[in-house]
Amino acid sequence: MAGKVKWVTDIEKSVLINNFEKRGWIQAAENEDWNFYWMSIQTIRNVFSVETGYRLSDDQIVNHFPNHYELTRKDLMVKNIKRYRKELEKEGSPLAEKDENGKYIYLDFVPVTFMLPADYNLFVEEFRKNPSSTWIMKPCGKAQGKGIFLINKLSQIKKWSRDSKTSSFVSQSSSKEAYVISLYINNPLLIGGKKFDLRLYVLVSTYRPLRCYMYKLGFCRFCTVKYTPSTSELDNMFVHLTNVAIQKHGPVMNNDKHCFECYGYDIIIDDKLKPWLIEVNASPSLTSSTANDRILKYNLINDTLNIAVPNGEIPDCKWNKSPPKEALGSYEVLYDEEMAQSDGPDRDLRSRSGQSIGIKGNRARDSGKPVLTTWK
């Protein structure tokens, strides 16, 4: 059935719309027949929600997975990473190796984080090990970096100590007072005396089997001397109860053949050249501040669409999601579970570990040395 792809979006950004138009796709409205919908986070929630959700047909593709927040909400991301580490440790994977101080050698890439008020006591224990350290508080219930602050004294978060002693179930209304608290990286690598972070892009076309791509290009964001809080969106969702007992769960991410997703990874490098994952964004900004920025984002969307909607034709969700090498553009395969499994003896290790991440080829404006961190 030859026809033009009908697209909808609720994000009015030229890097998106120009890419749709250059493929000759036709703009449609949300309530009409559409094939491709580039949605904001709020909209995807409606599509997959129990009350307002609807089924997607086989010729419809959307740009988020139903439970992306497992990776992109700060508290859930940390929870899932902790879970992943414990699982690896339990099965004796060499990845989970620890040094003489009990720290993970390869898996210690997220700053220590706790949920407040639920993990308050655990936090205090950690805080007391290093009383001169600084911690950063980020509210779960607010958006765009509002309410972020630094603390270096327990007295500054007295109120969460009170809350933790009350009911162990956090009610809906007080979810707005829930925070994540992370160790603040106070020794970032500086270039030109400035702090910076790295933005890298990862595209997932399917979670089962896991197939993901890393964009070879990224960029650094430099700060002026004054500290500026992150402007990532923090989802306004109910905070779940912390389950200290780790049980073997099914896979975290729900796959859906109608979905793909392009994540923005925010990474800080410290002055020992160690990278730290700060957060993962499900809806990375498509605003451009410079011409180069616009070109990068335009090409990112272009390459993303080439992989997600092959040949620019009306999608069929039954396809095997295996684009030819030539269609990748500036993406390179990060992990392909199917290919990894067909590699025989290494099978167990790879299918469990999931990702081998290399940070390379980014336009980090340092003295030209790429920072490589891998774990297999």
């Binding site: 500086l190 030109g192 005396g193 400035k194 002026t224 001397v225 404006r365 003295s367 030209g368």
Partner: protein, 440 residues
């Protein structure tokens, strides 16, 4: 000895008059004083944002750079030795280039001897440290020797050593050793004193520096992040009277200005700016690459100042010195004319005199044109040989490298386009091939 040739001194004097006239008329037009004491509130404000002056957005639209390299090239093209009679008969030794003064420059055999350590049988960083070469062959041993040189703090040995290139990890210290910069407490104090001079007085040249940084380094993919450092260095540099010392061996003379109302009265004469150096378009690019090596402002400052008074000043003053820009231009043109005569002739015929394109590379010592790692390898050799002649050799080598494409162009604009992007070039292989592997 400033400058032995009278006609060179005269030309430099006229050029300086022009620059100063341009500066003064800008001053008058805009009604801005050459210098002004800042009110206390302004001083406080500046001190607060000393580390982020780049965030300031002063209105610079009315300021123009005092001159650009191409203006300077016009002056050099018109240089003539009144004692030299070219004759009406074109002879085979007639120079077809833009520079028409008879200075002695090295030919390729002399250059091969002079730059002996760049030969094919000697290990080089920039060639023999590439990923395909096992480090045991050269790199490891070279690194070990470098560390030894640093331990023994042997400045002469360091200068010899860097001819083969500096390992990245040792470069900052090796350069400091060669330039004799030790960043003692009194040096830091001196820098702080300059900083307080900046806080207290505003100079017109500050606006020129601002404009230059905004136009050049801020727009450069490699250097934009160092914008704030550039102000911290260049504002201080303009006020540093110790820079005046280099005028004893430079052909240039620092511009003089007079206290208001006392024009012509020597006891009221001051050098303006205090350093005697008026920045031109692209001046900040001399500092920018150094920011990759030094992040401590006073050390960065001293390294730059020393690099300027040893090398960079020769790139924008008229002299007969072998490392002076005039000699470099002549060296470039002679090399090209002698070894790529077809190319030279062709470019000349289509109105694309090669020097018109390469001049800006040499004036800036290639800063902003080469990738930074390559630039630093080039500057290693400037320090190692204590000479800027390598800039002319590299310029010729670049033309030789792109000769095939250049032979096909039919206009100056097209030739410029072929040579617009040097960011992918590897300087050491280019130099080696041109000097040692080309049949002459």
């Amino acid at each position: 000895m400033k400058e032995p040739l009278a006609y060179m001194r005269k030309a430099q004097g006229s050029w300086e008059k022009r620059i100063l006239k341009s500066l003064n008329s800008m001053c008058t037009e805009l009604s801005i004083p050459l210098a002004r004491k800042r009110p206390i509130s302004e001083q406080k404000e500046l001190l607060n944002k000393w580390n982020e002056m780049g965030t300031d957005e002063p209105d610079l639209s009315l300021f123009r750079p005092v001159y650009a390299p191409k203006d300077f090239l016009e002056v050099l093209m018109n240089l003539r030795n009144p004692n030299y009679e070219n004759g009406d008969q074109p002879s085979s030794r007639n120079h077809l280039g833009l520079i028409q003064v008879p200075l002695k420059v090295k030919d390729i055999p002399e250059l091969k001897e002079y730059f002996g350590e760049l030969g094919l049988n000697t290990g080089q960083l920039g060639i023999d440290d590439s990923a395909q070469v096992p480090p045991e062959l050269f790199e490891n041993e070279h690194l070990r020797i470098g560390q030894k040189v640093l331990t023994e703090q042997d400045s002469a040995a360091a200068q010899q050593y860097v001819r083969q290139g500096c390992p990245t990890a040792l470069r900052a210290e090796l350069w400091a050793l060669i330039l004799n910069i030790s960043n003692q407490p009194e040096d830091i104090l001196y820098y702080e004193q300059l900083k307080s001079n900046v806080i207290q007085h505003d100079l017109l040249v500050d606006s020129l520096i601002y404009k230059d940084v905004k136009l050049t380094a801020s727009n450069d993919d490699y250097y934009f992040v160092f914008e704030d450092y550039l102000y911290q260095v260049l504002f201080c540099f303009s006020r540093d009277t110790s820079v005046l010392e280099h005028f004893t061996y430079s052909s240039a003379t620092p511009p003089k200005s007079y206290i208001r109302g006392k024009l012509g009265m020597e006891e009221y004469a001051v050098f303006y700016p205090p350093s005697g150096v008026i920045p031109f378009h692209g001046f900040s690019m001399y500092v920018a690459p150094l920011c990759f090596l030094y992040h401590e402002p006073s050390k960065l400052y001293q390294i730059f100042r020393e690099m300027y008074v040893r090398f960079f000043f020769r790139l924008h003053s008229i002299s007969s010195h072998p490392s002076g820009i005039v000699s470099l231009c002549l060296l470039f043109e002679t090399l090209l004319q002698t070894h790529l005569p077809q190319l030279f002739y062709h470019l000349r015929e289509i109105g694309a005199q090669p020097l018109r394109i390469s001049f800006k590379w040499m004036v800036r010592a290639f800063s902003g044109y080469l990738a930074t790692d390559q630039l630093l390898l080039l500057w290693d050799r400037i320090l190692g040989y204590n000479s800027l002649e390598i800039l002319a050799v590299l310029a010729a080598a670049v033309f030789a490298f792109r000769a095939v494409n250049l032979m096909e162009v039919t206009s100056l604009a097209a030739a410029e386009a072929v040579l617009a992007d040097l960011s992918t070039l590897k300087v050491m292989p280019l130099l080696q091939i041109f000097l040692f592997a080309t049949v002459t």
